[in-house]
Symmetry: C2
Subunit: 378 residues, 2 copies
């Protein structure tokens, strides 16, 4: 019965020094390659984090929901790319943001949605600044850069009331590889095909000033960003075990962890039960198909040092089951991790784990801490 | 471009009539078998839902976090079982709840934790009402009903300051089966072994008034609850696809769904892209290992009627990929589900999906709706 720390558990901890290094690394890298950098704030949904990204040189933000746009606009951030194709039932809220002075950019990937946007102005008579989403790796949304429909959408936007701001893409398939060669190949494909889409639109006589690309793995792997005006990335701010497996960070770069306390044991099975279950870690099992499966997370001592050989093997809502990675029951588990022991668990996916918490607690090298609120919902 | 509904998406919808039927079914069943019923509120974390469970006859509530205890106690519910073994860093908050008048019951499953609790009173001199968690199916926490340690813990609690309130168990392995015979067998094992633990404690001379058992599948399958004083269950209030696969509800009994809007297509792949990704559905893939895998959810029209043959096959943070269950690309997907179409997605796991939302929207047969807040965090 040791370590009766007053730290409430489970808690989402941010190691501020690691986060700062991650922010500086990305910002420096993109600055060297030329484009502007527009962080995706869906990872943190936290003003204090985003302020640090902007202070490091980021220009504008990327959001995944209009709630993110509303909250960050209310905090004074007015250059916002809403990087999910606009649904008809969100157009009024988008218009309202624009009318209140937000430089909001919306995204479409179909003639139907382009028609919806180009046929109208906002209540105050402003136009929708619009990007066309391009599919550069087949993993999700977007239209093919070589397609006729790309030019059709360009024509609808250019011929209507909307402002065609450019093209954007997200090479999400970069999460599925784990060698530098493969990452560089996807990064180059992302760049090349998005630039191709812009050039086809320009060739057809449409303005297409912006070429916006990005994902954390491709942003950190691209050798050239020629023709690209803007890069987006989100999870790099914290990193996580999926990114470690992809190969773009080390396990010691991961700035987000979940503090937890040992509450029981099953010695015959070699289990320590902790108070971080899937409600704390999220149900994300992103490392399951990767080269190293961390279960629900990697185990560290409360100072953040990795404890090799153990993982959060399983999880119920408020119970995590900590066990040996090799599946052999550590029958002295209660001696290794007595009840009350506090630990940190590194998450598979920082975007999913952070979302389980109403706030982050920061941990600094000088021992100081702070509580930073985050929001969720739509 | 049809169905420009004003319903914001994604939203967590509660079909109130279905929820009422689920509440009544469980309450009636347990009343017939004899014990009291103490619903687990970790599923909804919503006062309006819990008030309906209590109005139907439930006696007290079960919680998975002290935040749930605090919030429901603040709303006037004072009989609360905190069904996760108490961590040392939570003892002060538990004591504070007791001192403020909450009839809080805490749980231990080790001599170490029993010693911690039995050695102290609350600041106002009250004792900790304590249950011993018993492991009746090997799936997680608890001590074996046949073990010497059970009596040791009984002795520590009876010999110290704490009040031994009884024994409790949760047969979580009932989620892993899907026949009535197997469910009845696990239910009987849960009952028999928890009663055995109580009888061994009583035989050793310790008071053990309560025998508390339960999970949704066993509560709905048990043929006898002899010796049991109290049953607990949570997910039955909404049900979900995992419970449908287990066999304790029909798909039409599921009261929770996520409203979503179609935002794009990849016709060659037969994909409709919707605005409910894993941030809305959660990352829970509970049906993955069951007899029918629903991906990230089953697809219904906006009135709640199941659309056979389609599922939410994949999910990114704010993008869901809706596709045919049989894997054959429906190339007319944009005609079947035009942009703007609103749908409901039934979740794998209601506890996980609900937790992604700050509020529920209720849908009633008479067309009326309401917004019910829910909370998250610790």
């Amino acid at each position: 019965m040791t370590n009766h720390s007053a730290l409430p558990t489970p808690s989402a901890l941010i190691d501020e020094k690691k986060m700062s290094c991650n922010i500086d690394r990305m910002q420096r890298r993109i600055a060297e390659l030329g484009p502007r950098f527009r962080p995706h704030v869906k990872t943190s949904k936290c003003l204090e984090v985003v302020q640090r990204q902007l202070a490091a040189g980021a220009q504008g933000i990327t959001v995944s929901t209009l709630k993110e746009a509303e909250n960050f606009f209310a905090a004074g951030i007015d250059d916002i790319l809403y990087a999910v194709c606009l649904a008809p039932n969100k157009i009024e809220q988008a218009a309202s943001l624009i009318d209140r002075g937000c430089r909001l950019t919306v995204v479409v990937d179909s003639a139907a949605a382009a028609g919806m946007i180009s046929a109208r102005k906002t209540p105050l008579g402003k136009t929708f600044r619009t990007m066309i989403e391009v599919d550069t790796d087949g993993h999700r949304s977007g239209i093919r850069p070589q397609s006729e429909e790309l030019l059709e959408i360009g024509k609808i936007l250019a011929g209507g009331i909307a402002e065609l701001a450019g093209v954007m893409t997200h090479a999400g398939s970069s999460y599925d590889v784990d060698t530098l060669e493969a990452l560089q190949e996807i990064a180059e494909q992302e760049r090349r095909l998005c630039v191709l889409a812009a050039e086809r639109l320009r060739g057809a006589g449409y303005d297409c000033p912006e070429v916006s690309i990005g994902s954390t793995p491709t942003a950190l792997s691209a050798r050239s960003l020629e023709g690209v005006t803007e890069v987006r990335a989100g999870v790099y701010v914290f990193f996580d075990l999926v990114m470690k497996n992809v190969g773009v960070c080390g396990i010691d770069d991961i700035a987000l962890s979940v503090a937890t306390t040992v509450i029981g044991h099953q010695p015959e099975k070699g289990w320590a039960i902790v108070d971080a279950g899937w409600m704390a870690m999220s149900r994300d099992r992103g490392t399951q198909k990767q080269k190293k499966d961390y279960g629900y997370g990697a185990v560290c001592d409360i100072s953040g040092a990795v404890i090799p050989g153990f993982m959060l093997a399983s999880a119920n809502q408020e119970h995590g089951i900590l066990a040996a990675e090799n599946g052999i029951a550590a029958q002295d588990i209660a001696r290794i991790f007595p009840i009350g022991t506090q630990l940190r668990i590194l998450p598979n996916h920082a975007c999913a784990t952070g979302a389980q918490f109403p706030e982050y607690r920061t941990i600094n090298n000088d021992g100081s801490t702070a509580v930073w609120e985050r929001f969720h919902g739509w």
